[in-house]
Point group: C2
Chain length 433, copies 2
């Protein structure tokens, strides 16, 4: 089935907001086995909308239109649809009543501007919006269905899942529907999509499996789209091969982030964590606190950005700082142990590094970062060289540092060696104890 | 001048990457006085590209094409341009030599796949790419110029600034070029774009000034596009009116973030800061550490997520926690004072709140957050009710908390009352001392 999408709105066209709705819709379609063939973005001019509707309807069988269903004067999607169809706009009493009920339930009176939201082309079929005043609708223009959806993200998401996807199955029972997605979160893969490892995975790919990836630095997520007709044994063998190729860079499967992964592990083991952060400046803690319920294990993070704070909060010795510097295996070891002692936790994790762009030396250039994880079972430290320049910005170095710190803890919790061999990250030194 | 943009690539079309290039280009054009009239996104199919090039060229005077200039088999922009033009692809020796030099300078040998990047339609005019192997080029298709740009963001950005914008001025010396943008960062404005305050600003807008806004929660950035022909006195009067209307919600002008604003203020005053964070979990520190050079003033942040950490690290009294709870004016006051004392800083800032979705009570529902800022000059605390549900997620509550904490410090540094009246945020209580 040929599907196009039309995104409306000056803010999207002019780049004042990044169009995450379109990415979400495309992604959701793909995960359900459908593909977009084109996406058009137009502003709030009536003639541009009418032209775009007609052009897309001439090419595709289904056109998903997003936005322009609100109560204000620049919301023109219904009017443009009526013009494209050559039909008048009429009041849909069914939706008017639904809106009145919605307002009453919130103890408010409906304003006259909302009445506009019940004015649809004569031939429209209303598509329910249980969470907002903008109803969706669909109309047939030539051979194509135009399916109108609201611009407010959570209203759109719900309408796509509850109304659009079932409608697609009705339209063509043989298309889509049979795809599952297996997501592999990687760390320390090359930033280029054409990394050899990923190429190798693509080449070994059996029939019925297709591959996508999403770069979300410092991670690359590899997505395997797996159709029902793929043989289960062959699928498992392929998955094993993918795991082998990715090696230590594979940090999670079907989980969104390091924060989510660590959250599950820590909740499950019932033990507690203390952090000591320097260059990451609170980012490691933030990844965990983002998860609701993180208070079950996270006692705190000592963001000791200055040397004096490293001494007073983590008990790093003045002598260690003087002799080895703030970015050293010795300092991170004392930071992790100190945070663990100060907060009384089972696990301690620390990071200290040079995020740049200044502060590098010949011996320790920008991008040098030291890590330590410790527990009753021992202490592991390492120094990595992330490099700098190009797109290795201060932010990327800090994000990489956060991910590696969390991955060392992940590996330790799973009984693996906390010091991993990431394919595209350079290790300077590692130390146990 | 009518300008369209065509974005190419399956990853963009399928939502595997969000199209930030297009937003950046549209934004940059707008700030230079040009407007996009349409944006089309197509995948890596040759016939789709050819069709899109022809359609856009029939409607617009300039078509900016992004992506598809790389060395791999799915990079088809040059080939599609040649087909749309009815011309062969020929080797451009000038670019081939430039690429060879680039590889030599990096001590590498050029691979044969890169040769493809010097194959352009006969009538192409090469557009230099000083930072990559994908040269840009432009061709005339009918009455329109197609201007091809690379997909790698930093290569694109440089080509747009150094080559595309001057070309636009050449094309039409009277268009664009004369716009300056004045950006107003707001906090505590309603999330709806149709907030009364912003409507009021739009209505008072003089000729030659246009308005855009960008929601980047928890902030809304209001952008005033100001053409050279606007009278300076009138402009200043308008600006004063805008400032009056925005009131306390105006937190910065022509600055990107609270972190950047505080960074400048703290670097300028030469004084130091200690933080104590609970629900923000390191986010306040992170906003500052993101700025290079933040070590000049940030001594550290005590992310005391547990009650025991609040006691051991910030010296909050057990009695205070028992009597008033972790989310109270009393606790945040002791946290701020304690962090300031422990790290020996000039300023102390603290946050403690209920980010949800669980942990709320009838007395202190989810979204209740307490703040304190202190220094030699005194101590100010307040409790705000951010609410929850709808789009007031855990993340938004934490981001709002971070912004308010930084804004209290900003106001204190500027000699204003740290307790501000934000138009759309509810204050429960405030206390001085």
């Amino acid at each position: 089935m040929k599907i196009e999408m039309i995104c409306t709105g000056e803010e999207v066209l002019s780049g004042q907001i990044v169009d995450t709705n379109a990415a979400w819709v495309a992604n959701t379609l793909m995960e359900s086995g459908y593909e977009l063939s084109r996406k058009t973005t137009v502003g709030d001019r009536l003639e541009d909308l009418v032209q775009a509707f007609r052009e897309s309807a001439a090419r595709a069988e289904l056109v998903i239109v997003n936005g322009g269903l609100g109560p204000t004067s620049d919301d023109l999607s219904a009017e443009a649809a009526a013009q494209a169809l050559g039909e008048p706009l009429v009041m849909f009493e069914q939706w008017r009543a639904a809106m009145e009920q919605m307002f009453a339930a919130r103890g408010r009176t409906m304003t006259s501007s909302n009445l506009k939201q019940a004015m649809l082309p004569t031939s429209a079929v209303v598509v329910d919006n249980p969470v907002g005043t903008a109803c969706g609708f669909r109309v047939k223009l030539g051979d194509a269905w135009l399916f109108f959806t609201p611009g407010v993200p959570h209203e759109l998401f719900r309408m796509v899942k509850e109304q659009l996807l079932p409608f697609l199955v009705d339209l063509d029972p043989n298309s889509g529907g049979s795809v599952t997605v297996h997501k592999l979160l990687t760390l320390g893969q090359a930033e280029s999509a054409m990394a050899n490892d990923i190429d190798e995975i693509v080449m070994a790919c059996p029939d019925g499996v297709s591959i996508g990836y999403r770069a979300s630095m410092p991670h690359i997520e590899v997505k395997l789209f797996h159709r029902a007709r793929v043989d289960e044994t062959q699928w498992q063998a392929y998955l094993a091969e993918v795991r082998r190729v990715l090696g230590d860079s594979l940090v999670g499967e079907n989980q969104k982030s390091m924060g989510e992964i660590l959250h599950s592990l820590l909740v499950d083991c019932g033990q507690t964590l203390a952090l000591a952060e320097s260059c990451t400046g609170g980012m490691v803690a933030d990844q965990l606190v983002t998860q609701a319920g993180s208070s079950a294990y996270l006692l705190g993070s000592l963001v000791t950005y200055s040397n004096s704070a490293k001494q007073s909060q983590c008990g790093v010795r003045a002598d260690t700082l003087a002799k080895h510097g703030a970015v050293s295996l010795e300092t991170v070891a004392e930071m992790a142990a100190g945070a663990r002692r100060a907060l009384g936790s089972d696990y301690g994790v620390s990071v200290s590094g040079i995020a740049g762009p200044d502060g590098g030396t010949e011996e320790k250039p920008v991008g040098t970062v030291c890590f330590c994880v410790c527990s009753d079972r021992g202490r592991w430290s390492q120094a990595l060289a992330f490099g700098s320049g190009g797109n290795r910005s201060r932010t990327l170095i800090r994000k990489l540092s956060t991910a590696v710190a969390l991955d060392m803890l992940r590996r330790h919790l799973l009984g693996l060696d906390p010091v991993a061999d990431y394919p595209f990250l350079t290790r300077i030194e590692a130390r146990r104890g």
